[in-house]
């Protein structure tokens, strides 16, 4: 299974480099460095989340500047950009994880289906049950594997009895592709797993509450290539049922897993579009520099 994943990854990489090479010949108008206007179409036909004029301030610092984009239903959208460009900050606006930072202030509109995420009537508890999150560093609870996955359904009261819970835990672990490895040791602490397994456990934990959107903040940056390939494969499978937003430092990863890509730079959304187009035919100078490795 892992071999195929790696092979897939390699072939995708090759396709990407050929594509980047091919781009040189095409003659599309490229926007200049100085422009901070978003290039590309921010809307989609079936949006799951709609963000408009989002601004984020950390105290005096203007971290996200007037960003607007749509996140389509059942699509994987990748946020790329150099460190400190605001992609993680923006991601954390989508389930209001920024609320935990006292000096952080968010303005603008973010809608999940028809609900305004920042509306007073929306409780963060409900929002985060609908918009799950996977973090950069695998962070399983220092409890058993079973308890890790069972935690979400339990606090939200999603199950009525132990049998249902057992089933849900197994199902979640299966969908996260972890069941074979942990079936025999559900009582062992989650922290005893390897890094990649821990991260898949965190994904299982997130999908156990059956969220509508899953946010992934550089989910593979602490993992080796094989574990990374597994997670990427998993993301591809999860797309059938979930909308996934992934922040990544690896452009290859963005190219491999996402359908749309958004490039952030110093708090601005510089360019957004289909992943193929972004990587083969960037229309903004900054995007071009970044994906060709000249910068970032």
């Amino acid at each position: 299974m892992s071999t195929t994943a790696v092979e897939t990854a390699v072939s995708l990489d090759n396709a990407l480099s050929t594509a980047i090479g091919a781009r040189k010949q095409s003659s599309v108008e490229v926007t200049d460095y100085d422009s901070r206007q978003t290039v590309g179409k921010i809307t989609v036909d079936h949006p799951k989340m709609i963000c408009r004029e989002v601004n984020v301030y950390y105290g005096e610092k203007h971290a996200i500047k007037n960003v607007g984009l749509d996140i389509g239903t059942n699509e994987v959208i990748a946020f790329i950009g150099p460190s400190g460009c605001g992609k993680s900050t923006f991601l954390r606006c989508l389930n209001r994880m920024n609320d935990t930072i006292p000096i952080c202030r968010v303005t603008g509109q973010i809608k999940l289906d028809d609900d305004d995420v920042y509306d007073k009537s929306i409780d963060v508890v409900q929002l985060r049950a609908r918009v799950g999150m996977v973090f950069q560093k695998p962070n399983p609870f220092p409890k058993s594997i079973y308890e890790n996955v069972a935690y979400g359904p339990r606090i939200h009261g999603m199950v009525n009895n132990k049998t249902e819970l057992d089933e849900l835990v197994r199902d979640s672990l299966e969908r996260a592709g972890l069941i074979k490895e942990v079936e025999k040791r559900l009582d062992e602490p989650g922290t005893s797993l390897s890094g990649g397994q821990q991260q898949r456990l965190c994904i299982a934990r997130a999908i156990a509450v059956n969220p509508e959107v899953i946010l992934m903040d550089e989910p593979c940056s602490a993992l080796d290539p094989i574990a990374t390939a597994k997670i990427e494969e998993l993301i591809d499978e999860l797309r059938e049922n979930y909308t996934i937003v992934i922040v990544t430092h690896s452009m290859q990863q963005a190219a491999r897993v996402s359908q749309r890509t958004a490039y952030f730079h110093l708090g601005d959304l510089i360019e957004i579009g289909d992943t193929d187009q972004i990587f083969t035919n960037p229309r903004h100078k900054l995007t071009e520099d970044y994906i060709t490795g000249r910068f970032g």
Partner: protein, 438 residues
Amino acid sequence: MNKLKPSAAPVAPGRDIKTIVNASLKRRHAAERRFRWYGLIAIGLGLIFVALMFTNIIGKGYPAFWQAYVQVPITFDPAVIDPQGNRDPKAIETADYAALVRAGMRQLFPAVQGRLELRALYGLISSDAAYELQRQVQQNPALIGASQEVWLLTSATVDTFVKGNIDRTLDETERLVKDNQIEWIDKLLAAGKIQKQFNTVLFGNGDSREPEQAGIRGALMGSFFTLVVTFLLSFPIGVATAVYLEEFAPKNRWTDLIEVNINNLAAVPSIVFGLLGLAVFINFFGLPRSAPLVGGLVLSLMTLPVIIIAGRAALTSVPPSIREAALGMGASKLQTVGHHVLPLAMPGMLTGSIIGMARALGESAPLLMIGMVAFIVDVPKSFMDPATVLPVQIYLWSDLPERAFVERTSAAIMVLLAFMILMNGLAIVLRKRFERRW
């Protein structure tokens, strides 16, 4: 690409890096060796003083765990105990048991005659002996009319002499035991009728003016009640405060001010808390003096800042990723804290609390202010009974000149130290037991 090339190091011409490093190497190593020696000397000094303290205290205190008893033939004469013959408890309680003891002593030494001689003979026995007989008869009225050998507590002077702390070569006028008493003691010792037995009095009695009857039970119970109050108040309040300040409170000028004040409170001399307790709890609220309840309240005030500071440190040491994980799952703030953060911080909090409690156990100054320094014979039975605590008992006994009290002072210190070590050991065990890795 130019940046990646290593630039030429600015080395003085004619000298390579090896000679430069070697020149300073000896000095660097010497500094390290010196530092190690300083460390070893410091540790050595510390250990020497600890060893000195322990040998001194144990050397002085261990004889207090044994007490000299004398075997006396006692006839439980019905004519003395129960002249009416109706086993009236009142009569049994008020009977002249001292007469039985005196009769027993005369039976041991029939040759002794004369008022002064007899008084010296009776002086070998503690005044507690009569009460001991009374207790035995009250427990078992069938004893009345019987004759049996009874082990009775000797007076403190005999105890001291038997333990070899009175020099028999001294002139009689400078000695606590007189020549005739020494003669009787020697006879009894030779007959095996004086024995050193385990000192149950020390652990069974409250304080007393008679050294051989003085024990630490009262002080132990006082310490126990006081610490129970302290723990019940300071642990929940301290943990709640720490959790609120660390996890819920907004970070603003007010919380900063509170934090600074809590840190300052931890450094306030403990006697100040005693004065506060006197003014607030006793004078204002009218609570009784010398009560463990008030002592516990005062010690809570003293321990709270310690627990809060330890609790906050334990909470900060929980990695933020755990909080994020729980919040990201849609757990509410309280669920995050209750399910994940607090269990992980608990070992640290418990350790801090136990160390705070150990400090409270050893505290005497604030308790002096609220009257827990009184001479209290009865063992306290509740939180409102007048009581004293171990450190204060030690302080009280350390003032007294009798050899038996000197021993008991050290013995009480040993008991106190044993509890301290026990509590600190418990803290270590808890920390090891519940330590988690993430």
